[in-house]
Amino acid sequence: MELLLNRYRNLTVLLLAILAQLVLLAYQVKSNGEVRLIRVWAVTAVTPLARALETGRSSFSHFLNDYFVLLDVREENKRMKRELDRVHMENQYLRTELDTADRAKSLAIFQAHSPSKTVAAHIIGNTTGSGAKTVIVDRGSTSGIEKEMAVITPDGIVGKVVDVYPTASFVLLATDPTFAAGVISQKNRVHGTLKGQGGNKVIVDYVQNEENVEQGEWFYTSGDDGIFPKGLPAGEVTSVHPGRAKKEIILDPSGFQDGLEEVLIIVEGVHAPIPDTAPSNQQVHFQAPPPPDPGSIPAANPTEAGPMSDADRIIDRYRQIGEQEKHVWGERGRGAPDFNISLEPKPADAAKPVPPKPGDAPAAAAPKPTPHP
């Protein structure tokens, strides 16, 4: 028997192993039972390893994810910063453009409504003189600029032209110590001479101590100097003190309030009255819509007609002329109606006068400017 087992040892072991497992299987199938212990051992042995593997895998996966995400975030951050810088620059540029547009609009509106004839000019540089408050503007003799012309902004006086070249001019600013201009106070009509000090402030000289000048009062050009027309804002009194013989009046020059980029050069000055109130700080003055052409017949119901442009009015006028002359538009051989005839107002319209708009009143009430001597 022992010999037999030794001879078939391998086969015996195989058969025993298989038999044992078959019994195990049979037990499980027969009793529908579970060999829980072995499974518990196996799972207990495997679980920590699996957990360690999963931890390692998830950590590695998270690391990789985070790494790439962070890479993306870093790139995104760089891109966003670049974008933000670009937007900042663009914003700054647009703000500057807006300011420039506002100033230009303000200047254009002021120029259009100023009784004086002016030429708009850009300041293109400063002169190199030591201590001199002189700037260069891009308008010269070819634009009709001459020496001793007044330079202003809608806010007030700026200076005067001291040198003229074909394409540029030098403007002596009101803050220059050699500058002088005749001014008059708003309330008590006190005359004086505005002088530059080399700094940001100007003074009004030659005002007697007896004269009454208050702090916060405005000075306007008096027109005495033959350069600045009367009625232009010069500045607001920031301090006033009695001196030995004359008052010491310091002004904040109004023409420099928003920096100097665009100016107006008065080529043909017209005196204006000194206003009773201080000038407002409104940058852009929106005017009321222009009054209707007296020759035209207003729309029966402006609300229904809606806002009309000049072109609309002309078309409307031509249509009414055509109707009045019984002209058939587009018919050949009839020629054109006589557009020079005056339209007869309709009875209903004639009986119903157009009420004046609030914006029209100041224009109608504005005094007629007197020509500058």
Partner: protein, 178 residues
């Protein structure tokens, strides 16, 4: 004996050389193979075709060149695999016991360090493993599992392809032999 036959049936001395492994390797490698099968296919689906516990069984049985050792290795790995499966204990155990036994028996006649022999043996034992498992499932458990010979042959080929480099790597863990 032809030349080709001599190539696969090498000199007596080398053929009888028994490889020995560190105990840690003997336990760790099968465990790692089972873990691989349990864990990796969750994330890489197409790796589920790999029957690493079988390949490890074949390798150790071949290297130990002892049918008894083959039986024990096969039974141990098979039962461990069973214990982590949902079916009754012993299914993989019986199949792998047989694989271990036959692999060890075959190793006594062939040069099992030859890659071609390893490829063929891995291919054969994979097919045998799958087929016998299917037979056992039907016979002992009454389960009507599908057996697709064509698919099984392809999978056997793939496993054999993996087995050759895997066996080569495992050769590095040998203490003696070969």
């Amino acid at each position: 004996m032809t030349e080709i036959t001599e190539t696969f049936t090498e000199p007596r001395k080398k053929k009888d050389a028994v490889s020995r492994f560190n105990a840690l390797a003997l336990i760790g490698i099968p465990l790692a193979a089972i873990l691989f099968q349990v864990y990796v296919p969750q994330f890489v689906k197409y790796l589920s075709y790999l029957e690493l516990p079988l390949l490890v069984t074949v390798y150790f049985a071949l290297m130990r060149r002892s049918p008894v050792a083959g039986v024990l290795i096969g039974a141990g790995i098979g039962l461990a695999q069973d214990s982590l499966s949902s079916h009754p204990l012993g299914m993989f155990g019986i199949v792998k016991t047989l694989v271990g036994y036959f692999a060890a028996t075959v190793s006594q006649r062939f040069d099992v360090e030859n890659p071609v022999v390893r490829l063929v043996l891995a291919f054969f034992f994979f097919f045998f493993h799958q087929f016998f498992y299917w037979v056992l499932s039907r016979a002992l458990l009454g389960q009507a599992l599908l057996f697709d010979p064509q698919q099984t042959l392809v999978m056997a080929l793939l496993n054999a392809a993996v087995a050759v480099p895997l066996f080569h790597i495992l050769d590095k863990l040998k203490i003696t032999g070969g």
